[in-house]
């Protein structure tokens, strides 16, 4: 019945074809000219590793250790192109010569760099689309656990948010704002690593990366058609180069300090606030009995293991504790009695200083016939939260051999193995609930055993973090075999076949634990799960290149792509182990759940490209792709995605050259239009509807209709218009790349919320349309002239993106709005539905009640408008309560008085880099900034307003809240439990509260400061090595921000965040 995706006929065909190519080669050869020569730099030193390419073809070679090369030029080849990173590319017409020796000029300009485009490379000089390249410096000195972090602030048009300091955690990468209404933060770009498509770039060693760039506009990405509308990140890993064999070794030692902590109130403050917090106006029920209970501030505690807290009245029996460091104070409620207690800094128990190490060794080498590269890396990265850790082992092996004059074959293996340890708790528990455990808690009982705190969700971090296992391991491996066959002059065939596998295993175990001092839970839940991703990909590309009449350059490609992916998961949970000693399932006495699933996807594509230029003056490019995907509705499996772009190099025009001195101003203007697809938000079989399994009732298995089918589901289609210019001034000392774009995504796979009476929450449809508009600029400057002994390169980039919802599924409501709030609109002098999702609106808007101030006295509060948020029929307000803005002036505070607080997504992002070199010293500083996003500091509101288990508050709240009649305060009065009645901050939902907790997330981060020193050649040669570089690096050194939470990088609701650690790194690089 079921068709097997696992070994389709397709694979047989591909393997046959490859055999045919290899065997078919024997006996054929071509007529050609042989050219030899050497390549040297300005000073006459030979340059090994220079690319020598017959223009318009893929025929080429690399210079050897002496800078010399030999190349067979196929018939019709007229021009050689010499290129090498850091040098200006040069073209030479062969004519009748058989020997060509040339000199390459050093180039510092971005304008002459070579960028990787899909299935090929192009010089920026002739590029007509929008592509940004990551500064190699950013990858050099920090041993990144996740190399995507190097994108932060280094390229324009890309928003990178480091949302977690968990070692190895991937930052969020969103290109040009993404194209999703339902899940704007999930709009990840497509990653292509050495031609292999991947869902992310996790676990790649930065040391293995040769270069990294981002394809941004649709004309550039349309060659990847169906999945490219969120941008494409292309990474090339290091490979062998002809010439000298090089062995290099790198070592880094890093010390990580916690990035940021809350400043919590101390025990005295805690006790004062909580004990007085029970003396409340008469409208509240009398709950002073709690002052006598065994809780954080109550006096019902004793010195036994039965109570979790130290607070108690001073008695002759416990007086000796004062000699052991306990403190005392008069009871704020009844100063005639004395409280004794311990003052613990609970938060400090969560954190540690992390020590990390990174080793990487690589061997590179080869001849013009064969090259080889082997890289081996090991990173051990300790987090700043106790028990968090990431270890990674990486292998990168690749080789390339010339089988025949016109045939090269290569193979590549990229392998990583990692283990990750997390806290096994939610971020809420780890970062603010635990931090909010009463400072009077016992950390240890009198008998020296660890005390548990209140309960597992507000517990003693020392007890809970060390009494839990949450480890996962992952393998990622890529195997690639490919060839490059020059069939005819100018015509070549490049097949590449790859397999990409992910194997993840994880296990969790909760040993027996005290859930509060009196409740020992020994369920001992254990879980194990596996996840396998098997992906196979084949890309077959025919390329044709030729120069006609000396000035018409043509380069064309035609390709076919096959992609299939199978995900196979399994997980099992058990409980009832009799011991804490074995964390795996074999110890469980009872299985509680098992599950597995298998799911497949197949995507096929045909693609083509034509690049044409006339004397590099008029540039033209056409990309297209026709893709089909298995998970779309039956009627809409295929989609066509074209991209077209054109450019004009003004400085190559005669009139320009006549009017301006040479190289004063070089300028290209370019324009592009393209269409992309996306099906990222679509499950493998959602179009067909779903009946879910797994639920049970009374032990019987249930089947539930969970998804309504929609056979009409089709590709999301985004159209992008991009205008750009590449400018360079003063002989390339000042370079600009500027882009503006407008992208409209239609047929967005959007969930259409259904009325509650349908019994379904939503259905996936193609009815949304979203617009992103943006502006991007990249500037690089060589501040001092090249003859100066000090070199200073300055880089700056800035990007702005704004989104607007153009269309939503018709639902009979104005603007087809979904969600949102009905609030007073001052301009319209009426109530207007705002926020949510509505046509003409933006994503991620937040609304909340606005605090005008805090009532200073009861008399002042007596005149307050009627506050309908108060949860009591007695709506009296008192001094210390929040004075809310009555936006509509109707004398009543209700949901319609909410005001706009800001929105979740950053508007401006960018970075600044400085690289200063003097002799052997180099100083590199990189900063990045993000502005425009607003954060709802839920974590702070939660702990400040006593929403949970008698928790401690921040010092800020204690200091600045209303305490007595007449106070002019920043925050409302602290009532015990009163927040749930008076609603001075919290409004009963998690989406909004009080303006004082809506904060700007704007920040400027000093991301990297590196001082490096290359040991002089003379000294180095005595050591029989060829180079030694030392560096001292600070990473995530400081955030300039007003945000009061732990991590300002992400907008929206802060539900506990792992702040990025401040890293101090010493690194050494030795090349033999």
């Amino acid at each position: 019945m079921k068709k097997n995706v696992h070994y389709p006929n397709f694979w047989k065909k591909i393997i046959l074809l490859l055999c045919w190519i290899l065997i078919g080669q024997v006996g054929f050869s071509q007529t050609s000219n042989v050219i030899t020569g050497t390549v040297s730099d300005d000073s006459g030193e030979s340059i090994p590793g220079v690319n020598v390419l017959v223009k318009g073809t893929s025929v080429g070679t690399i210079t050897d250790i002496d800078g010399s090369y030999t190349l067979n030029i196929p018939q019709g080849g007229t021009t050689l192109v010499f290129s090498f990173i850091g040098y200006r590319s040069r073209e030479e017409v062969v004519g009748t010569r058989s020997r060509i020796d040339i000199k390459l000029e050093a180039a510092l300009s971005d304008m002459e760099e070579v960028v990787v485009i899909g299935f090929g490379e192009q010089s920026r000089e002739v590029l007509t689309t929008s592509i940004s390249k990551v500064d190699a410096k950013a990858l050099q000195s920090i041993p990144f656990p996740n190399a995507a972090s190097a994108l932060q602030g280094t390229v324009s048009g890309v928003r990178v948010q480091s949302t977690s300091g968990q070692p190895g955690a991937a930052p969020r990468v969103i290109v040009r704002g993404g194209t999703s209404i339902n899940n704007p933060n999930g709009a990840a770009p497509l990653y292509i690593i050495d031609g292999v498509i991947r869902p992310d770039m996790n676990d790649l060693s930065a040391d293995d990366i040769e270069n990294m760039q981002v394809l941004k506009d649709a004309a550039a990405t349309s060659i990847y058609g169906a999945r490219a509308s969120n941008g494409v990140v292309i990474i090339t890993t290091k490979s062998g180069k002809a010439g000298q064999t090089r062995v290099s070794y790198r070592y880094d030692l890093t010390q990580s300090e916690p990035g940021k902590l809350y400043e919590m109130a101390n025990a005295r403050e805690y006790l004062t606030a909580y004990r007085l917090g029970h003396i409340r106006p008469a409208k509240f029920p009398d709950e002073t009995v709690r002052l006598t209970l065994p809780n954080g501030f109550g006096t019902g505690n004793d010195l036994t293991n039965n109570t979790a807290f130290t607070t108690q009245f001073l008695t002759p029996q416990n007086q000796y504790k004062l000699d052991e460091g306990w403190e005392s104070m008069p009871d704020p409620v009844n100063p005639s009695r004395t409280l004794i207690f311990q003052d613990n800094d609970i938060q400090s128990l969560i954190y540690q200083t992390g020590i990390s190490q990174n080793h990487h060794i690589s061997v590179q080498g080869g001849t013009d016939k064969a090259t080889f590269n082997a890289g081996l890396g090991y990173l051990s990265n300790e987090g700043t939260v106790v028990t968090t850790q990431y270890d990674r082992l990486t292998f990168n092996l690749n080789g390339d051999i010339q089988v025949k004059d016109n045939l090269r074959v290569f193979g590549r293996v990229l392998y990583t193995y990692n283990t990750t340890n997390t806290t096994g708790q939610s971020t809420a528990v780890t970062f603010y609930r635990s931090a909010g455990l009463a400072p009077t808690s016992k950390i240890f009982f009198e008998d020296g055993t660890l005390a548990p705190g209140t309960s597992s969700s507000i517990g003693n971090p020392l007890y809970f973090l060390n009494n839990r296992v949450a480890e996962s391991s992952g393998e990622k491996s890529t195997y690639t075999v490919g060839a490059k066959w020059d069939i005819l002059p100018g015509l070549s065939f490049d097949p590449q076949i790859s397999m990409y596998n992910i194997n993840n295993n994880s296990y969790n175990f909760q040993p027996g634990f005290l859930n509060g001092p009196l409740n020992f839970v020994d369920t001992r839940v254990a879980n194990a799960s596996t996840y396998q991703w098997r992906q196979r990909q084949a890309d077959l590309v025919l390329s044709y290149g030729k120069t006609f009449g000396g000035s018409h350059n043509l380069d064309a490609k035609l390709g076919f792509a096959y992609f299939d992916r199978n995900i196979n998961t399994m997980s099992a949970t058990g409980r009832g182990a009799s011991t804490d000693l074995i964390p795996t399932l074999n110890a469980s006495s009872e299985p509680t759940s098992v599950s597995s699933s298998i799911t497949d996807q197949v995507i096929l594509g045909y693609f083509g490209r034509v690049n044409y230029d006339f004397e590099q003056k008029y540039l033209f490019s056409l990309n297209m792709r026709y893709d089909g995907a298995s998970n779309l509705g039956a009627a809409n499996k295929w989609g066509f995605f074209p991209g077209i772009s054109a450019g004009w190099n003004l400085h190559r025009e005669e009139f320009w050259q006549n009017a301006l001195p040479e190289n004063l101003l070089r300028m290209k203007i370019r324009a592009s239009y393209g269409e992309n697809g996306n099906i990222g938000g679509l499950g493998d079989f959602s179009a067909q509807g779903a009946y879910g399994v797994g639920a049970r009732y009374a032990g019987l298995p249930a089947i539930q209709n969970t998804v309504i089918p929609n056979p009409d589901l089709q590709w999301e289609q985004s159209r992008t218009v991009n205008l750009g210019t590449d400018l360079s001034l003063f002989d390339n000392r000042l370079n600009f790349i500027v882009d503006v774009y407008r992208r409209v995504t239609d047929n967005l796979i959007t969930s259409l919320p259904l009325p509650q009476s349908t019994g379904f929450a939503s259905v996936l449809t193609n009815l949304g349309s979203l617009e992103n508009r943006g502006f991007e600029v990249e500037l690089s400057a060589q501040v001092l002239p090249s003859r100066s002994r000090i070199q200073w390169n300055l880089g700056f980039n800035a990007s702005k993106v704004k989104n607007k919802i153009l269309r939503l599924p018709t639902n009979g409501i104005e603007n087809n709005r979904v969600g949102g709030v009905l609030i007073w609109n001052t301009a319209a002098k009426d109530y207007v539905w705002s926020g949510g999702l509505q046509e003409g609106g933006r994503l991620g808007e937040m609304f909340s009640r606005q605090q005008v101030g805090i009532y200073s006295t009861d008399e002042e509060a007596a005149n307050a408008p009627l506050d309908t948020y108060i949860v009591s029929s007695n709506r009296t307000k008192y001094g210390g309560d929040t004075n809310w803005l009555d936006a509509d002036g109707n004398g009543s505070i209700d949901s319609r008085d909410q005001v706009y607080m800001g929105q979740e997504f950053p508007v401006w992002t960018g970075g600044i880099s400085n690289n200063i070199s003097y002799k052997n010293f180099n100083l590199y500083m990189r900063m990045d900034y993000t502005t425009g996003h607003t954060i709802f500091n839920w974590a702070k509101m939660f702990i400040d307003t006593n929403l949970f288990g008698d928790n401690n508050m921040t010092g800020d709240k204690y200091e600045n809240s209303w305490k007595e009649q007449g106070d002019l305060a920043e925050y409302s009065r602290f009532y015990w439990g009163g927040e749930r009645v008076q609603r001075n901050n919290f409004n009963g939902t998690v989406n909004s509260g009080n303006t004082v907790f809506f904060e700007s997330g704007d920040f400027l981060c000093v991301r990297e400061l590196t001082l490096s020193y290359s040991i002089p050649a003379k000294v180095v040669s005595m050591l029989r090595v060829s180079a030694i570089r030392l560096n001292f690096t600070g990473n995530n050194l400081h955030y300039f921000t007003a945000y009061k939470g732990l991590n300002p990088e992400e907008g929206g609701r802060d539900d506990g965040r792992y702040a990025l650690p401040r890293n101090y790194n010493f690194g050494v690089n030795v090349t033999f």
Partner: protein, 490 residues
């Protein structure tokens, strides 16, 4: 020669890239899609179980709707707030109770069964009829609860299979139309049940439970929708028919609620909660560990620990607890007073925990897996008493059956003696409180007896505001159901 090679490559490429559409037809392995479901009896069985999974998701809601607005609840030690229903302070912004999506999910599962099951071949026709009967009863139960809550309703009798405006945009229809459907469904169901037996541990609908529901529905329409004696007689007949099944009062009141004693003979219909299945019933009426006192006696310690996920948000009010007489055997089985002992040995009341739905202890942890009871035999007796009294008949037999068990050896001094219709009503309503408190019945009882404004403290100063007898509709519902208008008064 060259051209041959070129053509060969092109030909190979074409060969490779042919037959692609076939390659794109991938079948699912681990999910069932709409196209391949509803074929066999097994499919129908799975879907039927799915319907009860949806019902279980409503357990908490049923309790909230049926109990929280009455005089039963008062805030616990965990602080105040979230008691909008208790204070009868609902409004469209914060209605404080669940919206109707869960109920319509239940209805949709029933509608799917009613649409597809008739065309499936079953090994036994009786099994098929029982399945259809359960779906009809379930639909009636969901609409009954909803119309008691919100009044007029959108009526859906077809499953949702598409999302065009004709399906999604509906207006509410009148209460009487809703009741017409409910009664019609109940009659259909009663004809279809093959016999009077119970299955799946009395946690799925049965003929007896359907009769109970029918009695309940007709008492409601008799008293509140002008159904009069006709409906009262229908109710009484249906309730009397319950006796044909294997049901009766247990000897000990507390045995009805014992975790190890489910299902028992008194139960007609309960919602099954069990280990390894989701559900967490009345956890918020247990004490939270953070508020658990230390200065208590051993008995108290054993009663309250382990606290599990207890939250102590709500406890039974003084006003209700004080109505239990000392020798009422139901008292200890209903709630437990926690008292602390001070340094001089004096005990003082701190708070209480409920005792009917205590859950059980697994791995040292309390899990609140007691079954919510929709109908049990004592409820049937009291509904019969209520119907008889309304018809001018004598309710003494039923009342005394209840009291005999409640007071056992002290029954003599608590015998029910029939008085005026008004006096009897008062006694029956109070007996229902003592017998059924915490079982999600009280608010409906107060409404049916017309005593809400009299007995609920939060409503005592608002007589005449009859719109309060219905609940408001959440603004988020109104914003997604554009043809639905808010209940008057909210």
């Amino acid at each position: 020669m060259k051209n041959i090679k070129l053509y060969a490559v092109l030909a190979s490429l074409l060969m490779l890239t042919s037959a692609c559409n076939e390659t794109l037809n991938v079948d699912p392995t681990s999910v069932i899609t709409t196209t391949n479901f509803w074929r066999t009896e097994n499919d129908a069985n799975g879907a039927l179980t799915g319907m009860y999974v949806e019902l279980r998701n409503l357990s908490q809601s049923l309790h909230q709707l049926g109990e929280h607005r009455s005089e039963v609840m008062t805030p616990g030690l965990f602080g105040e707030g979230v008691f909008i229903l208790h204070r009868n302070e609902m409004n469209a912004d914060t209605p404080g109770h669940p919206d109707w999506s869960g109920f319509y999910r239940v209805i949709n599962t029933a509608n799917l069964i009613l649409k597809f099951v008739p065309d499936i071949t079953f090994a036994s026709e009786a099994r098929k009829n029982s399945m259809l009967a359960q779906a009809y009863t379930m639909r009636a139960f969901a609409y009954f609860t909803m119309t008691k809550t919100w009044g007029d309703l959108i009526i859906r009798t077809e499953p949702i299979e598409g999302f065009g405006a004709e399906v999604t945009l509906r207006e509410r229809e009148s209460r009487s139309q809703v009741f017409q459907l409910i009664k019609q469904d109940l009659d259909q169901a009663l004809q279809l049940y093959p016999n009077n037996s119970f299955t799946v541990g009395r946690s799925v609908w049965s003929k007896a439970a359907t009769n109970a529901l029918k009695g309940d529905v007709n008492l409601w329409t008799a008293k509140l929708l002008g159904g009069g004696n006709a409906d009262l007689n229908t109710a009484l007949a249906a309730l009397t028919e319950v006796d044909l099944a294997d049901v009766g009062l247990l000897e000990n009141f507390s045995d009805v609620f014992k975790f190890d004693n489910k299902p028992n003979r008194e139960i007609l219909m309960s919602i099954r909660h069990q280990d390894l299945e989701p559900g967490n019933y009345l956890w918020f009426m247990w004490i939270i560990s953070a508020a658990a006192p230390n200065n208590i006696d051993q008995e108290t310690r054993e009663k309250i620990f382990p606290t599990g996920g207890g939250q102590g948000l709500m406890v039974m009010s003084e006003g209700v607890r004080s109505q239990f007489l000392e020798n009422d055997l139901r008292k200890d089985a209903t709630y437990f007073d926690i008292e602390t002992i001070n340094s001089t040995g004096e005990k003082s009341y701190l708070t209480n925990i409920q005792q009917k739905f205590k859950g059980t202890i697994i791995g040292g942890n309390r899990v609140f897996l007691s079954d919510p009871i929709l109908y049990r035999y004592a409820d049937i007796l009291l509904m019969k008493a209520e119907a008889k009294n309304a018809l001018g008949q004598d309710p003494t037999v039923e009342m005394n059956l209840i009291r005999q068990r409640a007071y056992r050896e002290n029954f003599g001094s608590h015998t029910f003696v029939s008085g005026s219709q008004e006096e009897n009503n008062k006694a029956i309503l109070k007996e229902r409180l003592l017998e059924l408190v915490l079982e999600g019945k009280r608010w409906w009882d107060l409404v049916r007896f017309g005593k809400a404004f009299e007995l609920v403290p939060a409503l005592q100063n608002r007589p005449g505001q009859n719109h309060l007898l219905l609940f408001p509709i959440d603004n988020t519902v109104l914003s997604q159901e554009p043809l639905v208008v808010q209940n008057p008064g909210y």
